[in-house]
Every structure is written in structure tokens, then in C-alpha cells.
């Protein structure tokens, strides 16, 4: 390489133009990932834990606290596999939950509020960012998915309730309505009615044996943390599975009018299997 026409990135020579091209590629892929993760993660989340997330009177101390981290750790874990093992980027969990939160806020405002008249106070999404930050940093510091599961995934679930208590507490103040004790959140959803989600259909804490001094949210958090570890391990491997580069010969090749001479150069083809960039050996994972 000629001096001044190349740059050194992470120890390797890059022609300046190639470095510029790679930066354009970065930006495009970042945009694609933002949209795709926001869409897919949001779809997964809304259809597995969405009812708790959508409504202020579903955010209970048992099911919301238990289910949300379990269902929310999925995409962060799968993406951590890709981001970390392929790019050494410890940002997957934070990236995923920011994407999710973006989709949720857009929706709660444009869909629930502007279209369907629900007040914003009834439809606030849960916060997952602190847990995701800890999950990312756990991977950064341990560099190992098992240790990350044991520490980061555990913390991801444990931090969920206290994180959300910041903003949720005002909706759990007691009020008297028709001589009954209810929380502000109960009353908001009672007042601003839903036609297809009556009170009885809420899957919420209905009373349990009190342990841990009566703090059912703590019990739920610990159980959630345990399952989150398992979910993390499972989804790390789902990420591994879906990030595998697997190809199969194109049966339509000849039908497309391609002949053997159209095969890419041997060196190029080998790149698929993990060889050769500028004559140097590549050890693709």
C-alpha cells in the first residue's frame, strides 16, 4: 500500500476508499438493523408480554415482573451473539431495547392515543434500559456468554422492577372510588374503558402466600431472574443458529442461463467458506 492512500484500522491496512465504503456500509446496516430489530422484537414482545406492557392496570407485581424480563431477554441475547462474536460490539442488548422502546412510544402515541383516544397515562411502556446496559457490560467485562448469563441476565431481571418503580409509583397511590380502595392505575383503566379487555381478564396478582416479608415483586424478580438465565442461554444459541452462513447450491442456476464459466472466481468463492482477503488467510467463525 502506498503511504497516504491507506489507513490502519484495528491493526489492518485499509485503502482509504475501502474504509470510506465500509463506513457507508456501517450506516446503512445500522439503519436496517434499527428498523428490523425494532419491528421483529416489538412483534415478539407485544404478542408475548404486550398486554402487561400496554396497560397501566396490568403492571402487577407478579406476572408483569415475572414475564417481562423473560420475554424481553430473548432478542438481546440472540443479538449479543452476533454483535459480540462477529464484531466484538457489547451493545446488542442496549440497542435492542432502545429499538423496542422506540417502536412502543411511537405506537402508544400515534396508535393508542391519537387514534384510539386512550390517555398516555394508561399506556406507558416499561423501561428495560438499565438491565440491558448491565447485560452489555457483563458481556464486555466477562467476554463469555455463560458468565454473562449468570450475572448479566440475572441482573437484567432483578433490575426490572426497581427501574420501573421510578415512574410507576404515582400510579399505585391509593384512591377511594365508590367506597372501594383501588390504585390510581386501576381507576385510570376503569375510567377510560376498553371494550375487549374487561377487568377479569387481567392476568394479575390475585393474592399469594406472603414470603420475603410480603414483597411479591421481589419473589417474582428472583424467579424471573432464574428463568432469564435459561432464556439467555437458549437465545444466545438461537442467535448462533440464525447467524450461521449456510448455503445450498442454486437448483435454478442453469435455468437462469448461468453456466459454469459464470461461477465466481475460485478465490472469491472461497471467501464464503472463510478464506482469502488480499491473499491472507481468514478464519471465519
Amino acid at each position: 500500500m502506498q503511504g497516504g492512500t491507506s489507513v490502519r484500522l484495528y491493526g489492518l491496512e485499509w485503502p482509504k476508499e475501502s474504509a470510506r465504503i465500509s463506513r457507508v456500509f456501517d450506516l446503512l446496516v445500522a439503519a436496517i438493523l434499527f428498523l428490523a430489530v425494532s419491528g421483529a422484537f416489538h412483534l415478539h414482545y407485544m404478542l408475548t408480554a404486550g398486554d402487561w406492557d400496554m396497560w397501566i392496570d396490568w403492571k402487577d407485581r407478579q406476572w408483569w415482573v415475572t414475564l417481562t424480563p423473560i420475554m424481553a431477554i430473548t432478542f438481546p441475547a440472540a443479538l449479543q451473539y452476533v454483535f459480540w462474536t462477529k464484531f466484538r460490539l457489547p451493545i446488542a442488548a442496549t440497542f435492542a431495547v432502545v429499538c423496542l422502546l422506540f417502536g412502543q412510544w411511537i405506537n402508544r402515541y400515534f396508535g393508542f392515543h391519537l387514534w384510539s383516544y386512550f390517555p398516555m397515562s394508561e399506556v406507558i411502556p416499561a423501561l428495560l434500559i438499565p438491565g440491558a446496559l448491565v447485560l452489555d457490560v457483563a458481556l464486555l467485562l466477562t467476554g463469555n456468554f455463560l458468565f454473562t448469563a449468570m450475572s448479566g441476565a440475572f441482573a437484567f431481571a432483578l433490575l426490572f422492577y426497581p427501574t420501573n418503580w421510578f415512574w410507576l409509583a404515582p400510579y399505585r397511590l391509593p384512591v377511594e372510588v365508590m367506597g372501594q380502595l383501588v390504585s390510581v392505575g386501576d381507576y385510570i383503566s376503569y375510567a377510560f374503558t376498553r371494550t375487549a379487555l374487561p377487568e377479569y381478564i387481567r392476568l394479575i396478582e390475585r393474592g399469594t402466600l406472603r414470603t420475603f416479608g410480603g414483597h411479591s415483586a421481589i419473589i417474582a424478580s428472583f424467579f424471573s431472574a432464574f428463568v432469564s438465565i435459561l432464556m439467555y442461554l437458549a437465545w444466545w444459541h438461537i442467535g448462533m443458529l440464525l447467524a450461521r452462513v449456510v448455503t445450498t447450491p442454486n437448483a435454478l442456476k442453469h435455468f437462469m442461463g448461468l453456466t459454469d464459466k459464470d461461477e465466481p472466481a475460485e478465490a472469491a468463492q472461497k471467501a464464503i467458506d472463510g478464506t482469502s482477503l488480499q491473499g491472507r488467510s481468514v478464519a471465519a467463525e
Binding site: Y10, L12, S22, R23, V29, R61, K86, F87, P90, T94, F95, V97, L101, Y117, P119, M120, S121, P130, A132, L133, V137, L140, L141, L159, P162, T163, F166, W167, A169, P170, R172, L173, P174, V175, V177, M178, G179, Q180, L181, V182, S183, V184, D186, Y187, Y190, A191, T193, T195, A196, P198, E199, Y200, I201, I204, E205, S216, G274, R280, S281, E285
Partner: protein, 440 residues
């Protein structure tokens, strides 16, 4: 207002000037408040005829300003011949069938018991309800009282058009908490705190993301990891680790102290309330007139239900058949003045078929007397409300309530139910489109 003005000339102009497909849509802009229900006609007729029958429903007013009140009262009976595919009302909730939360519900009661929680209800028993609604979104809204039954879904009472006037921004729903806070408006309560905490964490997350994204990202990092000579130590530096560790500590500290501060700010909170209310039904009134259905037909071309019934008066006073109520349609026998007197002027006209109920013998049934009569309920509502689709259902048993009145106006209610046999043709060449028969 969320409704649209009707200007026929404008409508014609638009129709003429727009392309064919657009025309069809464009017309709608000028359609006045069409009698749009909200999905109830898609409920199968047996479900509407044999679950909750609402009666004596009254609206305190049909129009209110934003923040003004509308009180809806009435009664309902859960029909004993309950559809076999629906669960029994082990858990039920007094709902509010509105097109979205255009009215806020501030109070509701079943038999005087607050209905903020769900309750168990009993079949073949009557309940009294009251719902207080507060105008919120200006417009012309179709609103029903409603009972939600677990597994059976929403069971609707009669829908009425209610008008809310004024500005939406004036709406307020205030309440004082038991811990002393005054909530000015529940719509916006707590949002400042929500925005602050969500905003703070998003900002921190963005800092973390930008920390990594500012550097050459995908191809260079991928290459450095997969190619000899790539310097992995530059991919994740000790500064990165230090920054990450700092962020970890900061995150945990913010959460910990934030939680403590929140607990200090709101020391008295309660969990979501999920108990069940206990509601006793209204005192049971013995059925004075026993009704046996001998035969029932739905005349498809004539759009009428015809029943041959045997009535037995087991009471001590006379009884005159005044009304058939099914699927919120009130077929009233015009020959019975007591029945006619029960019609509230605010009651929706579309639920009062003009021909009413024809009874072959409307004379009062004396105590102990048994009489067989033909009754006929003919109206286009059978088609428009899609009740005639009963003939396409796997369960074609119809159901309703018959209201009888004695000479003093005292009312008793009997259940009526029986299989329905359709009549598809008749000698007068009547059709569903041309129920009077004849040419054209």
C-alpha cells in the same frame, strides 16, 4: 366534533369530479352520522338472543358538554337457555360499549354494588345496573351498556346515540388520593415523571451506543476478528472496559437510589386490586305466565318471526302480552297501553320496530286461564340487524323475554325460547327485498 357535515351539492360535485374508485370513498366524507354500530351485528344471533337481555334502559340525557354527566340505568336478565358453547358467567364485568374511551366512566354499580371489580352472576336472574359517564371526546357516539362474560366476550345492551359538545382539551378527571395528593387530571397524571425517567435512560443508552458506533464498525471489526494481523486489543480497549465498568456502577447506583427516592416520595402505595365483588341478584319473582312454544317460524321473504305459543296464567291477576324483547329489539304490542307507556322518549327509535308485536288475541289472560295465540314480530330489523342469519347458525334456537301487564300496569316477565324453522318461500312471491309481494 368528529362527525362530518352533510352538503348534498358538495357531495354531488365531489362524486362527479372524482375518479370512480375515489368517488366511492369520497362520498363518505359527506355522509352524516350513519347509524354505525361497532361490531355487534357480527355476533351470532343466538348469542345476542340468549345471553343478556337488557330492559328498562334509560339515559339521563342524550347530550352533554365535555365534563358533563350522562347516567345510564336499567336492568338485565341472564337468559336461562344459555348457549351451550359459552361458559357460564362465573366472572362478569359491567362494561361500557363505546367507540373507544370517548366518555369516561366515573361510577358503575350492579344492584348497588360498585362494579369496578368483576363478579359472578347467575342465570335466569335479574340485575339492576347504573353507569355514570362523563363527556370526554366531542362527537356523536353510539354507546351501549354491556356485560362482559369471561369466555363469552362482550354482550351488548341497547345502543344509543349520545352527543358530547365542547372542547376535548377542557376534559378533566380529578381525584384526591388517600395519601393526600390531589390529581388534577388522570389523563396526564404522572407523565412528567415518566418522561423524565424514560428520557434519562434513553440518553444514557445513546451515550453507550455512540461510544461504540463512532468508531469504524462492521467490516473493519469483522475483518480484524477474522484475519491474521487484526488487533483485537483495539476492538475492545482497556478504556472501553473502564468506561463500561463505570457505567455499570452508575446504572446500579441510579437504580438503587432512584428506587429509594421514589419510595420516600410515595411511601403509601397499593398493588393493583384484583378481588371479586359479590353481587346478589334481585329478588326472584315467580314467572306468572308460563310460555310454551308450539311452533316458531322465521318468514324469510316477509322478514317476520311468527310463533304459536300457549300461555298459562299462574298468577292471581290478569296478564296481557305487551312486549317481546329479543336482541335489544323491542316489539311492543300497540294494543296494550301499559306497554306503550313504558317507552322512554329518549329510547333509540331504531330499537323500536314500528309495526310492533301482533298478537292474535290481545285480551287479558285471566288468572288460571290457558290460551294459545299466534304472535308475529315483523320488521326489517331482522335483516338489518342480521338476526335472520340465525338460519345459517349451528344453533338456531331463539330466545327472548315476553312482558305481561295486569290491569294496574304491573309487569311480569317470562322467558320464551324455542327452535326456529325458516320459511323460505310463500305463495305471494314476497322476497326479503320486496316484503309486500307483487310486481316490482
Amino acid at each position: 366534533m368528529r362527525t362530518f357535515c352533510f352538503h348534498e351539492s358538495s357531495c354531488v360535485r365531489v362524486v362527479l369530479s372524482a375518479a370512480a374508485a375515489i368517488m366511492q370513498i369520497g362520498i363518505l366524507i359527506f355522509v352524516p352520522d350513519a347509524a354505525l354500530a361497532h361490531g355487534e351485528r357480527n355476533q351470532e344471533p343466538f348469542l345476542r338472543m340468549r345471553t343478556a337481555h337488557f330492559y328498562d334502559v334509560k339515559w339521563s340525557t342524550n347530550e352533554t358538554p365535555v365534563n358533563g354527566e350522562i347516567v345510564v340505568t336499567g336492568k338485565f336478565r341472564l337468559f336461562p337457555i344459555w348457549p351451550v358453547n359459552l361458559p357460564l358467567p362465573e366472572a362478569a364485568f359491567l362494561g361500557n360499549g363505546t367507540p373507544g374511551p370517548v366518555l369516561a366512566r366515573t361510577e358503575s354499580y350492579i344492584n348497588g354494588v360498585p362494579a369496578i371489580q368483576s363478579t359472578k352472576l347467575e342465570l335466569n336472574r335479574d340485575y339492576e345496573f347504573k353507569t355514570v359517564l362523563k363527556g370526554r371526546v366531542p362527537g356523536h357516539h353510539h354507546v351501549h351498556p354491556m356485560i362482559n362474560v369471561m369466555g363469552a366476550g362482550p354482550l351488548l345492551g341497547p345502543g344509543n346515540w349520545l352527543t358530547v359538545t365542547g372542547n376535548e382539551s377542557d376534559f378533566k378527571l380529578s381525584i384526591k388520593t388517600l395519601s393526600g395528593e390531589t390529581i388534577d387530571n388522570l389523563e396526564t397524571w404522572g407523565l412528567g415523571r415518566v418522561f423524565f425517567w424514560h428520557g434519562l435512560w434513553v440518553a444514557i443508552a445513546i451515550v453507550w451506543l455512540v461510544w461504540w458506533l463512532r468508531r469504524p464498525l462492521l467490516l473493519p471489526r469483522f475483518r480484524a476478528l477474522t484475519e491474521k494481523g487484526g488487533d483485537r486489543s483495539q476492538l475492545v480497549t482497556s478504556t472501553d472496559r473502564l468506561f463500561g465498568a463505570g457505567l455499570l456502577v452508575a446504572t446500579i447506583l441510579i437504580v438503587f437510589f432512584g428506587f429509594q427516592a421514589t419510595d420516600t416520595a410515595y411511601p403509601r402505595t397499593v398493588p393493583l386490586q384484583g378481588s371479586r365483588a359479590t353481587v346478589e341478584p334481585l329478588p326472584e319473582v315467580p314467572e306468572q305466565v308460563k310460555v310454551a312454544v308450539n311452533k316458531s317460524n322465521y318468514d324469510v321473504p316477509g322478514r317476520s318471526l311468527r310463533m304459536n305459543v300457549t300461555l298459562t296464567n299462574n298468577g292471581s291477576s290478569s296478564a296481557q302480552l305487551g312486549e317481546l324483547l329479543t336482541s335489544n329489539q323491542r316489539f311492543i304490542n300497540h294494543e296494550v297501553s301499559q306497554a306503550m307507556a313504558t317507552v322512554d322518549p329518549n329510547y333509540p327509535k331504531e330499537l323500536l320496530p314500528p309495526n310492533g308485536l301482533k298478537v292474535s288475541d290481545s285480551r287479558p289472560l285471566k288468572p288460571g286461564e290457558t290460551k294459545t295465540v299466534d304472535i308475529e314480530a315483523a320488521d326489517a330489523a331482522w335483516e338489518t340487524e342480521r338476526l335472520s342469519s340465525l338460519i345459517n347458525d349451528p344453533d338456531n334456537t331463539l330466545g327472548g323475554l315476553l312482558f305481561f301487564y295486569d290491569e294496574h300496569g304491573k309487569r311480569t316477565i317470562s322467558n320464551v325460547s324455542g327452535p326456529m324453522v325458516p320459511v323460505f318461500t310463500d305463495p305471494d312471491n314476497r322476497t326479503a327485498e320486496n316484503p309486500t309481494g307483487g310486481a316490482g
